[in-house]
């Protein structure tokens, strides 16, 4: 401890070099923490899925619909407990929410209104009767559900979404899809909040409630009965059989026009956010490259610092400092660089994430991806700090070891 001022003085002496190294280090840790936080959240989304559910989509792409007749045929596959027709609506509130009801006559223009992304609401049309039994993690008041089932315009709102817009039972709102076939000529769809979906935060902490469901039938009728099923959600009894059942389902439609692709909900979710996943991979690769560069930068700083101090190290040893002590001083200096950089990087990352989740448009885009509760998790911060210390240690080790081994007489002679 009594050597700490000594170490600080060295870092202060060359403050430009120290500062730039700390900044570089903090950038690295900043990247690390931010990326890990996003990855952490994405993994959280995947954990929120159930192994008891499969998703069937069009074999070519998610953008094509499947015939509605498939539901019955899928239900006949052994091991299938239930099949629900679903369609991702992906609605957003029309630009002027209030007064939209009175403007029904001018609805045509309303339908043309550009999508306001800041009002994006993750929403899904579902065959409610079949769908909700497949989601036992949802806690729904039975009376509310009864009301919902008896109202074609009814909507079941996730708790987070409800909180965000302060919606209560009975509130009305309008939604408009950004998917052209799901738009109707007479204007946006009107919904009435009929129920709130809660989840057990202990048993299902990862289940997202920043979404809403409404009756597929409403969408079907509203669009002139021209649409098919976006996807089918399949409930199965035995997660072990997921692979077999998926193959059996796809085999059913092998020879039809619309072939299917069936996978677990988790794989589906992973595919759905695979773009984000690939991005993460890319960014991670960049992050790794950056870390490596930072390691070189810091190592260079340290070996420069130590080389400049050859005589000083020799003097310390002459005065009776042990080799291990001298090595310790250098390692401590490198660790301190790492700690400073790490702390700064973590703070920066925290700041950015806080900013993103508060910034107007961005926060809604994040929410749309299911990342509404983005926050730097303490384990990620701890990991970032550990990485910083490790980088410091790695950078300081070689010069420290050289100082450890060096002989006083050799060091004094080369001056």
């Amino acid at each position: 401890m009594k050597f700490l001022p000594f170490i600080f003085k060295h870092l202060k002496r060359n403050w430009i070099r120290t500062g730039s190294t700390v900044l570089a280090m903090s950038l690295c840790i900043f990247l690390f923490c931010t990326l890990q936080t996003v990855l952490h959240e994405i993994n959280g989304l995947l954990e929120g899925t159930s192994a008891n559910r499969l998703i069937t989509r069009h074999g070519v792409s998610l953008v094509f619909n499947l015939p509605l007749s498939y539901a019955g045929r899928i239900a006949s596959v052994p091991g299938v407990k239930g099949v629900a027709t679903t369609a991702w609506f992906g609605g957003s509130l029309p630009a002027e929410k209030e007064g939209a009801a009175e403007k029904d006559t001018k609805a045509d223009e309303g339908a043309e209104a550009t999508t306001d992304w800041s009002k994006f609401i993750p929403s899904m049309a579902v065959d409610s009767e079949k769908f909700f039994p497949l989601y036992p993690e949802y806690q729904i008041n039975p009376e509310e559900f009864r009301q919902y089932m008896s109202d074609l315009q009814g909507a079941m709102i996730g708790r987070k979404l409800a909180d965000k817009y302060k919606w209560k039972i009975g509130d009305r709102f309008f939604l408009e899809s950004f998917i052209p076939p799901y738009r109707k000529s007479s204007g946006p769809f009107e919904f009435i909040v009929r129920g709130i979906i809660d989840t057990d935060p202990v048993k299902h902490p990862k289940t997202d409630t920043n979404l809403m469901y409404f009756h597929y039938k409403y969408l079907y009728e509203g669009t002139g009965q021209r649409i098919g099923a976006g996807t089918y959600t399949i409930g199965i009894d035995d997660p072990e059989q997921a692979g077999t059942i998926s193959k059996a389902v796809d085999a059913l439609f092998e020879n039809s026009d619309a072939q299917t692709h069936t996978e677990t909900e988790q794989a589906f979710a992973a595919g759905f956010i695979s773009m984000a996943g690939n991005l993460a991979l890319l960014l991670n690769t960049i992050g790794l490259a950056v870390s490596f560069t930072i390691l070189l930068v810091t190592a260079n700083t340290m070996s420069m610092a130590v080389r400049e101090r050859r005589t000083e190290i020799a003097v310390l040893k002459t005065l009776g400092f042990g080799s291990a002590q001298v090595m310790g001083l250098i390692v401590a200096e490198a660790l301190l660089l790492g700690a400073l950089g790490g702390a700064l990087g973590i703070l920066g990352s925290r700041g950015l994430i806080l900013f993103l989740t508060k910034a107007p448009v961005i926060k809604d885009v994040l929410a749309g991806m299911g990342l509404s509760s983005l926050a730097l998790p303490p384990p990620v911060a701890a990991m970032g700090f550990a990485v910083a210390l490790l980088l410091g240690l790695a950078a300081g080790f070689v010069p420290a070891y050289n100082a450890y081994r060096s002989k006083i007489t050799d060091m004094l002679r080369t001056v």
Binding site: K317, G320, F321, T409, L412
Partner: protein, 235 residues
């Protein structure tokens, strides 16, 4: 070569006792014998000057006495301790208590103030913060620089820097001071001050001093002069 024939004869009261020391350096395949059977006794309270042409092995011998290097063969006994028998870390601890080293280029630590430089050897002791600071200030007073304690090396003249270095060498109160051309980088007036200071340390503080020097006037301050010539003592 006669010096090495009867090495044990006069050792009784010698504080520094160099016996039959050989030091060779290996350079690639070549072996270079720098000290070729040196014996030298320095009684307690002596002030000895080591002279000799460049490359004759003066620094090498001094380093052996100071315990920062080990002889290839022979013994170096300082204050009753056979230096070569100590382990690396024991030797370091021994140095911190037993010898003070004064360099030609002062070798103060640039990021530390004068008093912090002087305090440095005391960090290795169990002394408290206050006590360390007090002793460092006392040492600075001895060398006449009490008023410069918070100055940094770059704010001091060469002679002042060397005096701080001397304060650092004496702060842990070692019996032996070794100095390698302590005036080699100073103008004659500063050199004079340093030599006077060393005389005082020898006379009043009873320090045994071994000083390497090229300067005959510096050597004249010492009680005894030894001449090294190609690795052997010549008178």
């Amino acid at each position: 070569m006669s010096a090495q024939l009867h090495p044990v004869a006069r050792t009784a009261d010698a504080l520094v006792d160099v016996r039959n020391v050989v030091k060779t350096y290996k350079r690639d395949t070549q072996e270079l014998t720098v000290l070729n059977g040196i014996s030298l006794q320095v009684p307690e309270g002596e002030f000895v000057a080591l002279m000799g042409p460049s490359g004759s092995g003066k620094t090498t011998l001094l380093n052996l006495v100071a315990g920062i290097d080990r002889p290839t063969s022979g013994q170096v006994i300082v204050a009753g301790t056979d230096v070569a028998k100590l382990s690396e870390s024991e030797l370091a601890r021994w140095r911190s208590r037993s010898v003070g080293f004064i360099f030609q280029f002062y070798n103060l630590i640039p990021v530390l103030s004068a008093v912090e430089n002087v305090e440095l050897p005391l960090l290795l002791t169990s002394l408290g913060k206050r006590e360390r600071r007090d002793r460092a200030l006392t040492a600075l007073k001895v060398v006449g620089l009490a008023d410069r304690s918070s100055h940094y090396p770059r704010q001091l003249s060469g002679g002042q820097e060397q005096r701080v270095a001397i304060a650092r060498a004496i702060v842990a109160d070692p019996k032996v001071l070794v100095a390698d051309e302590p005036t080699g980088d100073l103008d004659s007036r500063s050199a004079e001050e340093i030599l006077a200071l060393m005389e005082t340390l020898n006379r009043e503080f009873k320090k045994t001093i071994v000083m390497v020097t090229h300067d005959p006037r510096a050597a004249d301050r010492a009680h005894t002069q030894h001449h090294l010539e190609k690795g052997v003592l010549a008178g």
